[in-house]
Amino acid sequence: MKPRHKRFALIGAGLATLAVAAGLVLAAFQKNLVFFFTPTQIANKEAPQGRSFRIGGLVEGGSVKRQQDGVTVRFIVTDTAKSVPVEFRGSLPDLFREGRGVVAQGKLGADGTFRADEVLAKHDEKYMPPEAKAAVDQAQKAAKTVIQ
């Protein structure tokens, strides 16, 4: 092989390798590779069993109940299709509100209740003043989007 040809061969091989790599990445994103699981996934048994994992979704309106002991909180996490009850002992983040996003880390109990060690608030990418927000909420009342 002449030096020129050799060089082309090497560059070609490099590019081909990169192409295959890109293919693998795309294939990987077809599967679930996630920071948290949604209630639907849990319902479909796609979430880990007997192991600590994260669950994400919206706090269902009116579901937050503080227990007698004052530190334990129960609420329901939903992705509008399915929902999972969550139990948590500890202090909640400021942004924890009903109807807002939440991510909780913990284990799924045998009774289907998710026992959380940590609760984080997740918000979306929308920033707007309260008045505008109210207006938007009015308009979109029915179609509440599932957070990504």
């Binding site: 030096p3 983040p93 400021d94 942004l95 940590e118 979306d124 990418e125 920033y127 707007m128």
Partner: protein, 266 residues
């Protein structure tokens, strides 16, 4: 791939005639002309940075409305987002100039890369710091190992690695070239940072501003953010130019033009 490195290896400043041909294109790439030009530009960029910064702060903290979800805590956005943008942008610019230096053996572009690194690292740190400050009230934690946060941390390490590598090498020419290799290898991290929120579902929010759709953000908020971003940009240019001037003097102190320059400013 061999032609590439062979160019850098043998030609470059080894061919004064080539420099003469390029002179129209690369007029300002010659240190003698660049040095005074940079000196003249710095005050302008610095002034712009101050003005834009003042305007951005004013809009961000006094004009922009409270956010419906987060209240006033969201105002940290005016530092966080511009800093995060600059951290990625500067890395790409740095890698670009380092690569140009490696391929064409031009001294100035390598020095530019060296000068960019500390500013880039500073903005990366700022993004991480403001981000975790912001995370505590909003998410309820300083730090989580999600893809956006981890990859941004890796970016900081890459900046550090670049600087440490250059500091460890005495010979400036070798330092430039070794740094360039590292910078180029690290570029792959930047798209990962940017797209991480799309590829994985992260705790970090997705993009509020994108090319494809209208911003999901009130106009005044957006304005404040853009002003701050411009301010950071101008600030970066000013500091980088100043740093390049220092590096130039240090490296070329034996040349005639540096001698006269140094004597001129006692």
């Amino acid at each position: 791939m061999t032609t590439r490195d062979s160019d850098t290896y043998y030609s470059g400043n080894a061919s004064p005639s080539a420099a003469k041909h390029r002179i129209h294109w690369f007029h300002y790439a010659s240190p003698q002309t660049f040095y005074p030009l940079a000196g003249r530009l710095i005050p302008w960029f610095a002034a712009l940075a101050v003005l834009l910064g003042a305007a951005g702060m004013y809009v961000g903290f006094l004009v922009a409305p409270t956010d419906a979800q987060q209240g006033d805590a969201y105002r940290i956005i005016f530092l966080h987002v511009p800093a995060a943008w600059m951290s990625m942008f500067l890395y790409v610019v740095m890698a670009f100039w380092a690569g140009v230096g490696l391929v064409f053996n031009t001294r100035l572009s390598a020095m530019l890369a060296t000068a960019i690194a500390p500013t880039g690292a500073m903005f990366t740190f700022l993004a991480l710091w403001t981000g975790s400050l912001w995370g505590k009230p909003t998410w309820g934690t300083w730090w989580v190992w999600d893809a956006r946060l981890t990859s941004e941390l890796i970016l900081l390490f890459l900046y550090f690695g670049f600087m440490a590598l250059q500091a460890a090498i005495d010979d400036p020419r070798r330092a430039d070239r070794a740094g360039a290799v590292l910078a180029l290898v690290g570029v792959i991290n930047v798209p990962i940072i940017y797209f991480s929120v799309i590829w994985w579902n992260t705790l970090h929010q997705g993009a509020s501003i994108s090319m494809k759709s209208a911003p999901t953000m009130a106009m005044t908020m957006l304005l404040g953010m853009l002003l701050m971003a411009l301010c950071f940009w101008m600030y970066s240019i000013a500091t980088i130019l100043a740093r390049v001037r220092c590096i130039l003097l240090e490296r070329e102190r034996h040349t005639d033009w540096c001698m006269t320059e140094l004597r001129g400013t006692p």
